[in-house]
Symmetry: C2
Subunit: 357 residues, 2 copies
């Protein structure tokens, strides 16, 4: 098992990593304060100081959610579910949302990715995010190479003074052959995370995939050195890829369902998706399937069932076949993404205004 910001390999032992990374499991206290389906389903399963954010909020203290978007491709289901969760959280708590687009990071990290290309994906990804229904009066979208505020650059410089090359090498596995922009980027990411605290005095919570957790720890260290409140985080597991691999990845098109896929593409991809079923229908009915490795169960459970436990049971006991699940999933996913794509088109006006196009 490898889990770093740049590589996820092998089946992930989520319980083990929480202990290794020094985070906490989400407990009943948190679930009671924020009983979101993705928390109850343990998609978001661990955290650092998220309980404090919620407790303070119950006493009337505002907070901000920061969720950066690294743009190098179109968005996929794994991205969408996270921003949907954040939009729900904003509705629930009326909180500020700050979404920095780290187009600079992706340009720097990917040797063959052109500057114009990341800026194109800035626009495409922002459409997906706005489409989710954020309260745009209380939501800030910043694109590092398009409309970076001076205050953000300054905060990156202040953060950078507290991070050595040695620390970045340890945290991210870099060596001297890395370009100096990649080496600097953790300071910019820290600035993204601390920005609402510095600008508005809001405590921050960052929803992150497990692989990004090390960068949150880095930001927490810098916050402490700068005498700022440490950012909290809420850690999710990954969304499985279509082949059943542990993490859907935008740079692996065959295993990924993009938000912009056509109905035809969605149906084709889902019909080929890896399931946890038995080799034959007869065997499936007799011995049952394994929903825990199944991509069809993954998407049905995450996107379309508030409580997927009954489906889980039906699969294990052989009362549902892979064909049935795939059919249900394809119908629901097509409908869901069609509705999303319609909202996405409507978002153009908002985004063009934001970018003063």
């Amino acid at each position: 098992m490898t889990v770093t910001p740049y590589e996820v390999e092998g089946e992930v032992d989520y319980a083990k990593t929480v202990k290794e990374f020094g985070a906490q499991f989400i407990d009943d206290k948190i679930t009671k304060m924020f009983p979101h389906p993705l928390i109850k389903k343990k998609y978001f399963y661990a955290h650092r100081n998220f309980d404090r954010i919620l407790e303070d909020n119950q006493k009337g203290k505002k907070f901000s959610i920061v969720s950066g978007r690294g743009v190098s491709e179109n968005m996929h289901l794994g991205h969408l579910i996270c921003y949907k969760f954040i939009a729900d959280m904003q509705k629930e708590f009326g909180c500020h949302v700050f979404i920095p687009f780290s187009d600079d990071e992706k340009f720097l990290y990917k040797q063959n990715l052109a500057f114009e290309e990341v800026q194109k994906f800035d626009y495409e990804n922002a459409l997906d995010i706005i489409a989710l229904g954020f309260d745009m009066k209380n939501t800030e979208l910043i694109f590092d190479t398009l409309n970076m505020p001076q205050g953000l650059y300054n905060l990156a410089i202040k953060s950078a003074k507290h991070i050595t090359t040695s620390t970045v090498k340890c945290a991210l596995g870099f060596d001297d052959s890395k370009n100096i922009g990649s080496n600097f980027y953790p300071a910019m990411q820290t600035a993204h995370i601390l920005y609402p605290t510095v600008k508005y005095g809001y405590p921050v919570v960052v929803p992150v995939g497990l692989d990004q957790d090390v960068l949150i720890k880095l930001s927490r260290d810098v916050a402490e050195k700068m005498k700022l409140r440490k950012p909290a985080d809420i850690i999710s597991r990954f969304v499985r890829g279509l082949s059943g691999n542990p993490k859907m990845s935008a740079s692996d098109p065959q295993n990924t369902l993009y938000t912009t896929d056509t109905e035809e593409q969605i149906k084709k991809k889902l019909s080929n998706a890896f399931t946890g079923g038995a080799p034959t229908v007869a065997e499936q009915k007799e011995k049952g399937g394994n929903p825990d490795v199944c991509s069809a169960y993954e998407y049905l459970g995450l996107f379309f069932y508030d409580d997927p436990s009954e489906l889980h049971e039906k699969c294990k006991s052989g009362r549902v076949t892979c064909g049935e699940c795939k059919k249900e999933l394809a119908e629901k996913m097509c409908k869901f993404l069609k509705a999303h794509q319609a909202q996405r088109e409507k978002a153009r006006k908002t985004l063009d205004k934001l970018l003063q196009k």
Copy 2:
């Protein structure tokens, strides 16, 4: 002898360094095209491709001078003479001048320097520069932490992609204990240098002290990789400090004459200045002095004589005493800096408008 961007020690062998650094001496062809006193006096004595800039200019091609200002103290005579030279060059050639203030660099490099402090010196240093009579319609002042254009950040990111940590370590002697902002800064400096080429298509010439030459070489390498015209430079020797040390340094107040010093301070400092005179007046008259190590001769020659060769001869032959030189220097310097300080006060209005204060 040590000459790096962060340390100058020992008597500097200027001829040797030109060969070592791979630059060219300024020859008669250049002096003929631009017979400025500081070139004739060999204060600016070496270059890279400056001849091409002048030749192209004779054919009608515009160019830009870039001259960054690292702000951590008030400006001193060594800074002033360089910007005066640039103002003269602008008058002569009508060229564009770009002056980036690297307040970020100084904040990052100096452990105990506060952010507010560098921004204070931004303002103070800019007054000195504007006071020199630049054509403000054709001059851009950019302060990295106050009014950085998005295009400059983007250019820094593009430059950074071409510079490895390994290169910075070799060029500047950094190690892993450096903060990642310091390590990144050469990309920002490169962006400063290439900015007028990218924004306006102007070829660039950078007047630099010998110690900064390595950073110009780095920018030239990046320009080549980005398929941009390589920046030219024109290299100066250093202005001696008051103790006769080879380089006046703003962080060494006792050896430095600041542009903001009062008449009283100027007189006091100059009366204590190191000269090349003999131990007694009698001996001086008999054996003569050594103007080549003398700070009084240095400032008289650089600031107040278009051709100091006669004074040089008079000193060597004992026809002038240190007391006489110091008296002449104090009078002239007080008058010169008083006039400068008056212009400096007038510059506030321009600067406040620029910073929209």
